[in-house]
Structure formats: C-alpha cells, structure tokens
C-alpha cells in the first residue's frame, strides 16, 4: 500500500471511528501505567508510591491524549468543530450584533446573487441543450446605405439557401425567427411567441423531443413544406394539459392549420432571445403561407436570423471570410434579379459572426450594459457591507484585547486564535449567504420581469451556477471580514496589552477602522452620485416629449390571419372600422396611421427640387393619417397648418414636415411652400403646408430620424388598417370596449388588437427605469450601511474617551464644546470620503455618459444633493454619541477605570 493511501485510510478511520480509537488509546495508556506500577512494586516500592511514580513519568494523561490525537492528523478537524461551536455560542449570546451582521451580509450577497443570475442568463450562459456552443455563431450582415455603415441580422430566405449551397466552413446553417403570431382557433386565439425555423435548427441542439419528433428536411422542403408544428413544452402543458394524444391533432398557427408532430423538451427555447416560444414552425411552410410560391427568390424580404456551426478546424476569421464570400455571391444573384439593390462597391456587403447570446454581440442593447453596471454596483454594496462587518468585528476585537492577550499568555498559539476568529467570520458569512439566497430568490422574481419572459423559470435556489457563485461570494466575505480583525488580534504587543487598562489611556482610534470607514463613505458617495444621475435620467425620459400623447392614446390594429382582401375591400374595411370605433363611448377622436411608434414604420423615396440625395440627410419616416390626425395624436404644428378636409383627394397634394426635417432639407430657409415628390421623381408636387414638432418613432434617441405627414386619402395606396384613438375615461375599459366593437366588423378568422400607446413606449424607458430603481435601492443601502458604520465608530470612540471627555469637562469645556468635538471627528471622516467619492464618480463619468438620457454625468446639482444628503446622514449618525458624550459626568468618568 502506498504511504499516501495508508495515511488516508488511517485518517478516515480516525475520523469515523473516533470513539473506538479513543477507547483503544485509553486501554493502551492504562496498560502502560499498570506495567509501570507493576515494575515499581516488583522493585519493592509501596503500591501508592508506585502509582505516583508511574503517573509522574507518564506525564499528564490529558496532554498525552491530545498529542496522540494530534498525531492522528485530525486535530484541526476537532478544533474546527470546537471553534464552530464556540463561535455559534458566542453569536447566539449577542443576537443584535449577529442579526445585524447577518442581515447586512444577506443583503450584500443576495444582491450579488440576483445580479449574477440575470447577467448569467443574459451574457454568459449558452441556451439550454445547445451542443458545443463555442462553435455556434450568430450571423451579422453589414452593408452601406447612403454612405452609412449598417449592421443587421436580417437576411432573406434565398440568401440562406445561398449560404447552404456555397459556404464551405460551416457544418450547419440554420435560419430562424421568433415573432408573435396568433395561435389557436376562434375565442381561444392568442398572440404567442412562435419560432419559425429551418429543420437544421434542431440539429444545433442535443435535445430529444419530449414527445413525437422535430420536423426534418422533408417537412421543411422548398417551396411549400409541410403544415406541421412542434409544441413548446410550456404551451403543451398549459394548453393541452401535457396530454400524449396531441400528436396528430390540428392547431392553427398564423394563417394555416397545422398538424402537431412533436413536443420540445422542458426548458428548450432554441436560440430565442424573445421569450419562450409556444410553437415551432418550418420556415418553408410559414413563408409559403405568407408570400406564396415566389418567396424562395424574394431577395427583398429580409426577415431571417442565421446561426451556423463552424467546422472544428476552421478559425473564426476563416469562417467570416467564407461567409462573406458566400454573401457577396448571393448579393450578385440578387442584383441580377433586382438591379435597384445597388452595386457591390456602394453596398459593400460582408458578414461577421458573434456569440449566440445577442447581448454579447455587436447589437447588444443598453439593457446588458445597464445590467453590467448594476452588477458592479451590487459588488460595491457587498464591499461596503464587508467593510461594515469588518469594522464591527474590529471594535469587538479591540474591546476583547485583554481577553485575547490573556489567552495568548496562557499559551494559545496565535495561529489557533486567528483560526478561531476566522471561523466566527465564516459562520457569520454562511448565515448571511444562506439568508442572501432567500433575498436573491425574491429579488430575481421581481427583476427578471424587467428583462425576461415571465414564463421563463429562473430559480435561484436550485441553479447550480448561482449557488456556486453565492458560495464563492460567501467565502470571499468571510475572508474580507475576518482577516483584518484576525490579523490585528494575532499581532501586537502582548505585554503592553496586558499591563494597560482603560485608565492607562489606551485610547487610540484604530487606523484600520478609520480607513474602512473612509472607504465606505467614498463608495457610498460614488453610488449615490450614480443613483442621482439615473434618477434624473429617468425623469428626463419621462418628461421627454415624444411628440405625441402617450397617456390618452390607444392603438388598434387588425391581424388578417390569411384573409386576403383586395385594395378596395381593405379601404372599405378601414373606413368601416373608423366609423365603428367612433360609436364606442370614451372615444374622442381617431385617425388612420401608416406608421405607429415603436411598432411599424413606413418610408418612401423623396425627391426635392434643388436638393441632391435627400435620403442622405436623415431617416425620413412616412406618416399618413386621417383629417383628425394631429388633433388625435397631439403632435403640435409649429408653423403653417395641419392638413384636413380642406385638402380634397383630387386637389393639390399637401405635406407637413417635422422641424428637424425642414432644417435637414432646407437649412436656413423657410420650408413652407416648398415642393416634395413622394415615391417617384415624377410624382406630383406635395406642397409643404406646415412644420410639426419632432416625434420619436423608431428610436428614443436619434437626431437623424424625422417624420413627414400626408393625408391618407392623397397617398394613392391603401393603408394597412392601423388606428390611433384619442380617448377619455378609463383606458382599460375603453380599450376592451373598442376591441369588442371592432371585432364585429372583421371578416373570417381575422381579429383585432387594441393596446394603450404607452405599452409601446414604456419598454423604451426600461433601461433607465431599471438603472434608476437599482441605483437608488443600492445607493440607499450603501448609505444606511455607511451611516451604521459611522455611528458605531463614533459611539465606540466616545465610550473609549469617556475619561478624556470627563477631564475636559472638569477643566471647563462646555456641553457644545464636547458635542462639537465628537461631531467634528465624524464629519472629518465623511469629508474625506466625500472628496474621494466625488473624484471616483467624476473619473467613472466618462463610461456613464452614454447610459444617461440628456443628462450630464458631471451634473453639479447631483453632486450638491449628494453632499447635503451625506452630511445630513453623518450628523444624524454622530448625534447620538455626541449627546452621550455631553452627558459624561466628570466625577464618574474620572473615578472609573
């Protein structure tokens, strides 16, 4: 047997058969003593004296026992059990201290576990079941438009086919798109998240269907495919109760009824970043139902996202080169069919690849950056919490100085003492970490609704990665909070500590404690500045004039579900819907809308006499509306007039342009009266009759995005029936009444959707709302922790200086003098923290800048408020101790030790 194995076997026996080994050891010792006594007796010593001699030569029984146990190599374990017991007893004896520390750490660790869970889901974790995710990449296509570089991840179906045919660096190419489609029949119809995917999509995963099968190449064949559908696990459970006889049943998805052939396994979401898909459809079947047999050559319909699996021996650079070559070949084919797509030189198409997680790719939104910031903030809060706990431990350590010195003098080794203190910190950290997981559980329930689909399960307590993270955080906390006090206790001059009492004037403020407090103040200031900036950003976003009312507008639209209408029928339906809507109580005004903010937008080519390349001067969005358009939306006319009944269908064409558009096209000139040709260079002149305020349609922040308005009846083409409605009264009630009324006008399986305008605009404010909420919450937490830290430090100082204060008062210091002395001590620390924290915030401001909304990250107002707040809190925190200091009775203080 190797020595190592023997050692292990021995130690294990020692661990699990401890009692047996102890019994054997005692028997062995007794045997030894008996033999020794026997020897002495045989030599003629009286039995009593013999026993004494034997005892004396053996040494103390207990000592030998301990040493022998130590030789077993398990002493540390036994000591640890002892330390843990000792720590827990000590902690239980001081419930206030323990409760405060555990709560502090729980909030710190919980906040971090929550943010880790969200970041992990957003940035780190590969989608469930994805096989070998390092070789799977999302495709991004780049091109130039009007001299601007654009990046997208929308490609046409024939481009996908071209990649399949010509790419040599890929093992698999999968096309997919997740969109909202009506699922179900009649009253049961709901808009659900549907993933339309190529058969190859499933080959990227190691997922086995929970039931039936996924669709394969024969189902996904060009052009028509098969009308089959695979159910998502959640939808199968909620809609079909998990019944196994769903296979073969019919389910209407989008326009066509399809046969259910399988159920995806639990947790499967594909590559979707838009929630959990209810069902999966073959691309070909869906595209055929939407566009008919011509779609496989339709290069103009860019709607698919692509993901590829790279061959193992191909580098990413080689993959991008290969895909770009395919993309260029595909572009040539497209140009041969439709010459208006531009030339290779002007468009410069190319492909890059990114990780499967959207938030890590080039199109990562503001969300993931805000989440990363908040995760950093959570970490800072944890640091502050640790500083607080370390501080509390230190003050205990200082007041236990003599006890510690006595123990050291009695022969307890410093290492043993340090271990004991660390054990106590570890116990506290573990209690805090466990409670923190509960905090994280609540926290993530609240926060995930900010970012993820509510159906998605994100259980903190059962998630291994979050648990590991929480474990690491807990260990870190134990080290951070335990090491400083432990080392401080483990060092220092023993003799001095033993000799000195309080009388000796052993008062000195611990430098470590002061440094910790300044650190806390610094970090708190930085967080509070961040909180202030985000709050002001959020206020700016909320107060931001979108260019239309969001509170009193409803948006109504129709989903035709395969019902095909001629142009005349569509126009007829639109006017029927308008008059039906007018009957609904609470509806004040309404208008058709070609573009709807954050929902859909239209664009047309524009030609202006005397102005070259209008398109390069901005992104111009077409809005076409009814006579009441401006009165309904609340968009203000700045100059000139709105269009209305005075502009008949056959009369002179009119146009209203936004202020920014007027400046972009006619800088320094009056736009009124100018001529704009829409759609064709030869179209009749539309005369600018008014200039309207700017509106936000596609993006919240985009200086190049402008809108123009034409009467719907002059557009010369039918408008898709989208209606904006101005209402009074209860929004939800009017919306429901409106939906019911409109539904009655609709043909076949088509159905109406009515949503409040702000449900479209609110998500735009999400990142600021989240940032403001979290920064304020964490900032407040940091401030409270720092205040507690300050209070305990000052209170401790006052207690230590009782004698000194007594002397001062005996020598004639007044109450305000003494109080001022105490308060000034606190404020000095806070001032240092304030200066450092403000510096830190200024230094960090350059990274905060583009997360702000019309808000300077160096706003003096915010810095001023934080300063006032901090001093106010510092005053409150020091007031108590100062009051106590002022009540020091010199008589008592001078006599006490």
């Amino acid at each position: 047997m190797t020595p190592l194995l023997n050692d292990l076997r021995y130690r294990l026996r020692a661990l699990f058969r401890r009692d047996t080994m102890d019994r054997e050891m005692d028997a062995e010792f007794r045997f030894h003593l008996d033999k020794e006594v026997e020897k002495h007796v045989r030599a003629g010593v009286p039995p009593d004296e013999a026993r004494r001699l034997a005892r004396a030569s053996f040494g103390t029984f207990e000592g030998t026992r301990d040493e022998t146990r130590d030789a077993r190599g398990l002493m540390w374990l036994e000591q640890m059990v002892h330390d843990v017991r000792y720590s827990l007893r000590g902690l239980a004896a001081r419930p206030m201290f323990t409760g405060g520390v555990v709560l502090t750490l729980a909030l710190g660790i919980g906040a971090n576990a929550t943010m880790f869970g969200i970041m992990d889901r957003m940035l780190f974790r590969a989608p469930p079941f994805l096989r070998d995710h390092g070789t799977v990449h999302r495709l991004y296509n780049h091109y130039m438009l009007n001299g601007e570089s654009r990046i997208e991840r929308n490609l046409a179906f024939p481009v996908y086919l071209d990649f399949l045919r010509t790419s040599e660096a890929t093992e698999a190419v999968a096309a997919f798109q997740t969109r909202e489609l009506p699922v179900g029949e009649g009253e049961d119809t709901r808009e659900m998240s549907v993933t339309v995917a190529s058969a190859s999509y499933f080959s990227l995963f190691d997922a086995r269907p929970a039931l039936g099968r996924f669709f394969d190449a024969s189902d996904d064949s060009v052009p028509a495919g098969q009308d089959v559908v695979v159910l998502g696990h959640g939808y199968w459970q909620s809609r079909f109760g998990g019944r196994t006889d769903v296979i073969g049943q019919r389910l209407r998805v989008g326009r066509t009824p399809a046969t259910i052939i399988g159920v995806a396994p639990e947790g499967f979401v594909g590559l979707s970043d838009q929630g959990v898909p209810a069902v999966y459809l073959p691309i070909t079947a869906f595209a055929f139902s939407m566009r008919g047999p011509a779609y496989p050559r339709g290069y103009g319909w860019s709607w698919l996202e692509l993901a590829v699996r790279r061959k193992p021996d191909v580098s990413i650079a080689a993959l991008e080169a290969d895909l770009t070559a395919s993309y260029i070949a595909s572009f040539r084919r497209a140009a041969a069919i439709a010459p208006n797509v531009g030339t290779l030189e002007t468009v410069r198409p190319r492909v890059t690849v990114g990780p499967v997680q959207l938030a890590r790719g080039p199109q990562a939104g503001r969300d993931s950056r805000v989440v990363t910031w908040i995760a950093g903030v959570a970490f800072i809060v944890l640091l502050i919490a640790c500083a607080n706990v370390a501080n509390l431990q230190l003050s205990r350590a200082i007041s236990r100085q003599r006890e510690v010195a006595v123990r050291l003098a009695l022969g307890v080794s410093r290492g043993r003492l340090v271990r004991q203190l660390l054990t106590e910190s570890l116990c506290l950290a573990i209690l805090g970490g466990t409670t923190g997981l509960l905090v994280a559980r609540w926290g993530s329930v609240g926060l995930r609704s900010f970012f993820f689909n509510a159906e998605e399960s994100l259980s903190v307590v059962t998630d291994v990665r979050t648990l590991v993270f929480a474990g690491v955080a807990t260990t870190l906390v134990a080290l951070l909070t335990g090491l400083v006090p432990a080392l401080q206790a483990g060092s220092g001059d023993l003799a001095a500590a033993l000799k000195s009492g309080a009388r000796e004037g052993n008062y000195r403020r611990s430098r470590t404690r002061t440094a910790l407090l300044v650190l806390q103040a610094t970090l708190s200031v930085a967080l509070l500045v961040g909180a202030g900036l985000f709050v002001r950003s959020l206020r700016n976003v909320r107060d931001f004039r979108m260019g239309y009312d969001t509170e009193r507008l409803l948006f109504a639209t129709v989903n035709f579900r395969g019902v095909r209408l001629s142009d005349e029928e569509q126009s007829g339906l639109a006017s029927r819907l308008l008059s039906a809507a007018r009957e609904v109580p609470g509806v004040e005004k309404l208008t058709l809308a070609a573009s709807v903010p954050f929902w859909s937008n239209e664009g047309r080519g524009l030609w202006v006499p005397g102005v070259d390349s209008v398109q390069t001067r901005g992104r111009f969005i077409l809005q076409a509306g009814s006579t009441d358009y401006f009165a309904t939306t609340g968009t203000r006319i700045l100059r000139g007039r709105a269009f209305g009944e005075s502009d008949p269908e056959g009369g002179a064409h009119v146009i209203v342009v936004s202020e920014g558009m007027a400046q972009a096209i006619w800088p320094g000139e009056d736009a009124l009266g100018k001529c704009v040709r829409i759609s064709e260079p030869t179209a009749p002149c539309a005369t600018v009759i008014g200039v309207a305020e700017e509106v936000r349609i596609r993006l919240l922040v985009d200086d190049r995005e402008h809108a123009y308005y034409v009467p719907a009846w002059q557009l010369g083409e039918p408008i898709y029936p989208q209606v904006l409605v101005r209402i009074s009264g209860d929004r939800a009630a009017v919306a429901e009444a409106l939906r019911r009324r409109l539904q009655r006008e609709l043909p076949g399986a088509s159905y109406a959707t009515v949503v409040p305008m702000n449900s479209l605009t609110d998500p735009q404010q999400r990142s600021w709302r989240f940032g403001a909420t979290m920064f304020v919450a964490f900032g407040a937490l940091a401030l409270v922790l720092a205040a507690i830290g300050l209070y305990s430090l000052i209170a401790y100082d006052v207690a230590q200086r009782t004698r000194e204060l007594g002397v001062r008062m005996a020598l004639g210091a007044s109450v305000p003098d003494v109080m001022g002395l105490v308060v000034r001590g606190g404020l000095r620390l806070v001032t240092v923290g304030l200066v450092l924290g403000a510096g830190l915030a200024l230094w960090g401001s350059k990274w905060m800048e583009d997360l702000m909304f019309r808000q300077s990250p160096r706003d003096p107002m915010v810095f001023g408020m934080v300063t006032i707040l901090l001093f106010a809190v510092a005053l409150i925190a020091t007031a108590g101790p100062a009051y106590r200091a002022a009540r020091v009775d010199p008589n008592v203080a001078l006599r006490s030790d």
């Binding site: 047997m1 020595p3 023997n6 050692d7 021995y10 130690r11 054997e24 050891m25 028997a27 062995e28 010792f29 045997f31 030894h32 008996d34 033999k35 020794e36 020897k39 030569s57 053996f58 040494g59 103390t60 000592g63 030998t64 040493e67 022998t68 130590d70 030789a71 077993r72 190599g73």
Partner: protein, 108 residues
C-alpha cells in the same frame, strides 16, 4: 551519570530500531530504550505514544492487539517493510552525521 534528552526527531529512529528485533507494546519499547541505553536516554513516556501513532499513520509500523505475558490485552507494534527501509535510511544518515560531528570535534 546524568540523563540526556533526546534530540529532536531521534525518537522515531529509536522506536523503529527497537521494533526491528521483535513486535513490542508501548511500555516494552520505553523499557527497552531505557535499558539498552544503560539508563542514559530519558524517553518521555508522554511523547512515546504520539510518536507511535504518527509512525502508524505514516505506515512505518503496524499495530495489533494481542495477549501479553500475563494474558492481558496489549497493543503490539511491529515494523512494516516501509518501516524497515526507513530505519535503514535513517540509521545510515545518523551514522554519517555522528561520524562527521566526531571528526570536527576531535580536530581541535
């Protein structure tokens, strides 16, 4: 003659040497060391047992319960093969060391 304290680490060597003759229990080992050294070496009995247990853990000796001369159960230790090798190595190292120290001492 005064009694000598054992230099650090030599107790293990002496125990191994004692056990190389025959298996023995703890008391017998201490007696033997006492006698063979002509009562010069003072083996602290208190440190004998930790050393025995440490050697057992390292696999250099093996312990078994057996009947002693007057039929009481006693724990007998015996050398393992690893212990035999260790004894040889340590004994020769000790010899070299003492020879070298002797040389130095005699020179002056």
């Amino acid at each position: 003659m005064s009694r000598l304290d054992l230099p650090q680490g030599t107790l293990d060597l002496l125990i191994l040497k004692a056990l190389s003759l025959q298996p023995m229990h703890g008391w017998a080992i201490s007696e033997r060391l006492h006698q063979v050294s002509r009562a010069t070496l003072q083996v602290p009995q208190g440190s004998l047992y930790p050393a025995l247990h440490r050697l057992e853990r390292r696999g250099l000796i093996r312990a078994e319960w057996g009947a002693s001369d007057n039929n009481r159960r006693a724990k007998y230790y015996q050398l393992t093969r690893a212990g035999q090798k260790q004894l040889e190595a340590e004994a020769s190292a000790w010899q070299q060391l003492t020879t070298a120290v002797d040389l130095v001492l005699k020179q002056s």
